[in-house]
């Protein structure tokens, strides 16, 4: 936790300065978190569903919870034949690109949340930020469905 800056922590707080944590400001709360004096759960607004993602990211940042997912995703372009199974099976794409419900590829350019798209006949990772392994909590953060179903075994998720 030594490398975590107070500013990084502050970015994930509700920034409402509600004082419910006992500190005057969210910045002061962030400093207390950085020193280990307080825990993320000491901030009641953070426990609201709308801040669930920030709470999870904060816990990961502070090292108070082991990051279930994350890691990196590697695609072996020699093996990949662009079949698009990873694109269609990705739960994130199903949520934001309705075309994928019927097995089609996303629009181009795709929704900013889309993780995979087939470009030049090969699957390409567009952005991992919105992959369930980074954004979700619990079981969902262990999502490896793309790796599991890739017919060519072209996807590897490295923890």
């Amino acid at each position: 936790m030594g490398n975590v800056s107070t500013l990084e922590i502050y970015k994930l707080t509700p920034k409402t300065n509600c004082k419910q944590c006992g500190k005057e400001t969210c910045m002061a709360f962030s400093m207390a978190l950085a020193k280990g004096e307080l825990q993320p759960e000491d901030c009641p607004p953070l426990l609201e569903p709308k801040f669930a993602t920030q709470l999870q990211q904060l816990k990961v940042l502070l090292g108070t919870v082991k990051k279930a997912g994350g890691g990196t995703t590697e695609i072996d372009s020699e093996k990949c034949d662009g079949c698009g199974v990873c694109v269609v099976v990705c739960p994130v794409a199903a949520r934001v690109e309705f075309n994928t419900l019927s097995g089609k590829g996303p629009c181009f350019p795709p929704d900013e949340h889309v993780v995979y798209q087939v470009v030049q006949g090969k699957c390409k990772v567009l952005k991992l930020d919105h992959c369930r392994r980074f954004e979700s909590t619990g079981e969902e953060a262990n999502c490896r469905i793309c790796e599991k179903v890739c017919p060519q075994k072209a996807i590897t998720i490295h923890e």
Binding site: G82, G84, P106, C107, V118, P151
Partner: protein
Amino acid sequence: MATSSPSNETIPNVVCTGCALLCDDIFVEMEDGSFKQGVNACNRGWKKFQYYLNELVPLNCQQRPGKQGGDVVTYDDALAGAVSILQEAKSPLVYGFASSSLEDQQAIFELAEKVGAQLGGPAFQTLIPFYTQAINALLYTGTLAEAINKADVFVFWNADPLESHPRLLSKVIYSRGFFRITGYEVKKYIVIHPSDPDKFRGTTLGVKVPPEIEQELINALRASIVAGAPADAPAGVDKAAFEKLASLLIDAEYAIFFLDKSTLRSDSSSPLLTDLAGLVADLNQKERAMLLPLAEDLNSMGLFLHSLATGRFPLAEVDWEHVDAIMVGGVEETTELPPQLLSAGKSVPLIFLPQEEMILAKSADIIIPVAAPGITDGGTAARFDGVAVPLKKVAEPKNAAPTTLQVITDIIARLSA
């Protein structure tokens, strides 16, 4: 609607002509008039765009007297040469055209009628036996949309979709569908194949079945479906795998059997296709099931539809012995050309309408290059399930090559003059 300037544009909803799946969700990005990238197309489809738009060496009309040399001639001269060959022929053969549009094929049927030509090609060896036998055994077939939206059990009989139709799995197994809101979680993906089932990843069940016991397997499955419980497994098939297969089919709400060309090409005297159609008919007594032949070339199905429309059913096997002139078109480098064609092409006049450079050109007397449907030509094609899909012209053909429709129409006009 295409975006940006004509030389730098993104063309949406382009139809990929890499196989008969005709994926219509491709975005083609052009830069300075060249193909920059294809989005959503599989590797096979992307390579085809890349080849036709960037790599294709422009071809010229040629006359090759005695099948030698290659004099570049005008379109009119090449046309005159082709007409002369067809006028002199007593038993011409029109071969291929599975990679041509429905419009091209309609003209081909008209030309064949006019010159009394046999029609031949790989498509006729697969689809005609299939439909003939399936119709005889009560035809149950349907569309890709039904497979995506309604089906829950998918049986790939001797078929390897990743080889023949790379995006088929993502469409039918891993899609969710609009009427069936769960995807692979409830769908059953079954492969029945002579290869080791481990070759196919993500299957619910893989059953290794040597070709010689396919018949027995079908009979045992039919007995299971009628009885509502697994019958005895045929010798040579794993008992546990058979029982699971029978149970999955008995419990299926909507089963789809995909058949590839190896099954479709089964000997016409073999009852395999008829029995598979019978199995599907049995399933339909309780729930829904259908057979879908996996035609490969982009518009094989179109040839079959024209056969139905015209009542002119080509023979599955060409009468090679009497062929005295050949016209070949709508074939690609990957099309399997029979040795009889290559051999006959060396001894009788051959008119070749290539979309790309092919070795067959060496046997041709007349070469008239044509545009490629779905890339440098528009038109319509029939997807493997028979649904008509409008193709999109992405760019102008190199060397201003005419369309197949134009060439055939011009030949018919000259023959009629």
